[in-house]
Subunit: 403 residues, 2 copies
């Protein structure tokens, strides 16, 4: 018996190297011509206009697809996510109805897919935490004592989350000088290869969230590049954590790959060093077998897999609410930098170049940190049998500082 | 010549000990009976219904006062703030028009005055930073090296900001145990006496904000109690800063006292230890001569003055945008705990009891940290000549943990 791969009426979606086959159906927000942004789904080299689908009576999401962000649709809940996915699969299948409102991906502008309610960034790759810990605090204090007991995270800044393709300005700021602070353009500008989980349901203030419940609350994932000013970070981050070093911009992919699309790739993460407190215990593995990597100016710099991670997004969400913090639809939870053990598996230049001491080569030129004009791109996909579920591009180019 | 104090047609507003005289006119959001929340202004023992004022043609704010938060009005900008204040002063003066839509403060429910866009908490009292630094890190490392060069802050959680009168649940969480983490109800629950500055204008991503411009962007201030779980904080906060220790709730006063109302009380802050980088220089002092303190179960515990602070809210806002972080209408910037040098001037039990080592007495009973059922109230006012500009109550009661 041959395994039959479901095929789409959109020819490009059936190419095994396409990020957007029928099995994916990621959600985003697009505009075309003078029309305002509305919700869409990526299929092959096309975008299905979901607002138009609703107008045509092909699908029903209570009018939420006409909005310029997906928050309204997401807030309708998991049963609606499932129903809509099933309906989209029917519509876009090889034998689906013709004359769907499909527009060429090449003709659209992609926008932030959600209004980011709040943004939290975690620190869940043990390789990354150890490597960076060595650079900032030395090998003895590299991994904080609580690291294997809780997903460490900090609140980031939602207003600086931008969509792929947005230029990022190199920041000015304070760094440690010979005698006190020095005012300078950032000299150690870095990327961070991450995934971002999008919270799809509200929780109640004063109530915790179980890990299983947390997983049910996650709508999907985006690629996420948490641009980082390492020299500013080193001077500012004690004792209250990184602040302006992380506020210059955070780039996310325009397409949200749903949890449903990733389900076939569910996988264990890194082995545990110790038992967990019950509130962090998960009954089933919370990771996906997913290739993740990044490029600079078109050259692949590193490639790893999401399964290197120690803390899942569901565990992070459960921990986020452990004190009773209410979570909201549209909250974005960064996984933290995703790094494998080898230099060409690291998700940040800080690690790859050992704090700038070991330059790497990009198209023949040396790099320790990011230079003006450099473009960093993230990529990610789960490889199926004859298809892959991918995120599409997540890029940003660095503009010179404005002194 | 006798100084003539402008008087209001609302008799209680002319009592010299009233927080809400004609000179104040703080904004809030209230509801009464079955009607939905709308914007109002406090005057004496009454609330002026601003939505009704607009309906009656007494004032014009583009319909924004009918909303259940002040963000829409605030976004109309400083010229509109000034125009509205002048008009409200006319309306509520002794010789203003009668038959205004005034309702008794005792009959209304007060709500969060703004939709909190994002919440940032700073660390701007040198006494507090030093005292807490000693307790967490010892006297040698108490004050971080950059403390006198930049306003240190961290992003907090906007979703857990609640209005005065909301009960706060004692959190469960991880604390450091003999051998690894222990799961427990928080044993060292604390308050933090702060002000919160409300950002009243957007800034542009990638562009800095000058301190003078930052001051122009601040709409007003609330009292702010940043409830803190000190034992959870001690275990979690390195290296990325406080997280769940600060997520159980942050209580703000329902009334926003405008910058305009505080202008007569403008004052210098604490003396500077060193020159500042130009982006943090302010041309005029950024503080107000304002009494601030807190009570537990009705007993006054501490009283200090805002002028003990080292970094003004305008400096904090300028620093918040130094990396190009875009600021938004409705952003809430906590000053950090406000502490004078003496124990009865401290804004947190952690300092007052020297980390729980020296109990204090509350209504005859000893306290080191907050117990279940305790109610903490903040107070604050600027004392004028025959009147005072105050915030009204900012209270919260602690509910037992839910194991």
């Amino acid at each position: 018996m041959t395994h039959q791969i479901p095929r789409s009426q959109v020819a490009a979606a059936n190419d095994p190297s396409c990020d957007f086959p029928l099995q994916n159906l990621p959600y985003g927000v697009f505009s075309k011509g003078g029309a305002g942004p509305r919700c869409g789904v990526a299929i092959g080299d096309k975008v299905l206009d979901l607002a138009a689908c609703e107008s045509l009576g092909l699908i029903d999401a209570g009018g939420t697809f006409a909005a310029p962000q997906l928050n309204g649709f997401i807030a309708r809940g998991r049963a609606e996510w499932d129903r809509t996915r099933a309906r989209l699969t029917e519509l876009l299948a090889e034998d689906g109805p013709r004359e769907l409102p499909l527009v060429a991906m090449a003709d659209v502008t992609l926008h932030l897919p959600i209004c980011v309610t709040e943004f939290t960034d975690f620190y869940a790759s043990k390789n990354h935490a150890f490597n960076v810990g060595v650079l900032f605090r030395g090998p003895e204090n590299a991994l904080p004592a609580q690291w294997t007991h809780m997903p460490i995270g900090y609140n980031g800044r939602a207003s600086s989350v931008v969509v792929s393709g947005t230029d990022i300005r190199r920041p000015m700021g304070q760094v440690k000088g010979e005698a006190g602070p020095e005012w300078t353009a950032c000299r150690r500008l870095d990327l961070e290869l991450e995934l971002g989980a999008i919270v799809g349901a509200d929780s109640v203030m004063g109530q915790r969230i179980g890990v299983d419940q947390a997983e049910e609350m996650i709508f999907g994932y985006v690629l996420l590049n948490d641009w980082s000013a390492r020299d500013i970070q080193a001077w500012e981050y004690q004792p209250l954590g990184p602040f302006q070093a992380k506020a210059l911009g955070t780039t996310i992919s325009p397409w949200i790959v749903t949890q449903a699309a990733l389900e076939p790739f569910r996988s264990e993460g890194a082995p545990r060093d110790n038992d967990l407190l019950p509130y962090l215990h998960e009954d089933r593995p919370g990771f996906y077998d997913m290739t993740l990597g990044w490029t600079m100016n078109g050259q692949q710099m590193a490639c790893t897999n999401y399964t290197v991670m120690y803390w899942s997004s569901a565990q992070q969400l459960a921990h986020h609410a452990v004190s009773g913090c209410p979570m909201r639809v549209g909250d974005l939870l960064g996984t933290g930098t995703i790094s494998g053990p080898a230099p060409d598996q690291t998700g940040a230049l800080l690690e790859m170049t050992q704090g700038g001491k070991v330059p790497v080569t990009v198209n023949g030129a040396p790099r320790t940190f990011i230079e003006d004009g450099d473009e960093v791109g993230l990529f990610g996909f789960a490889q199926g049998d004859g298809f892959r579920v991918g995120f599409g591009p997540c890029t940003g180019r660095i503009l010179p500082a404005q002194p």
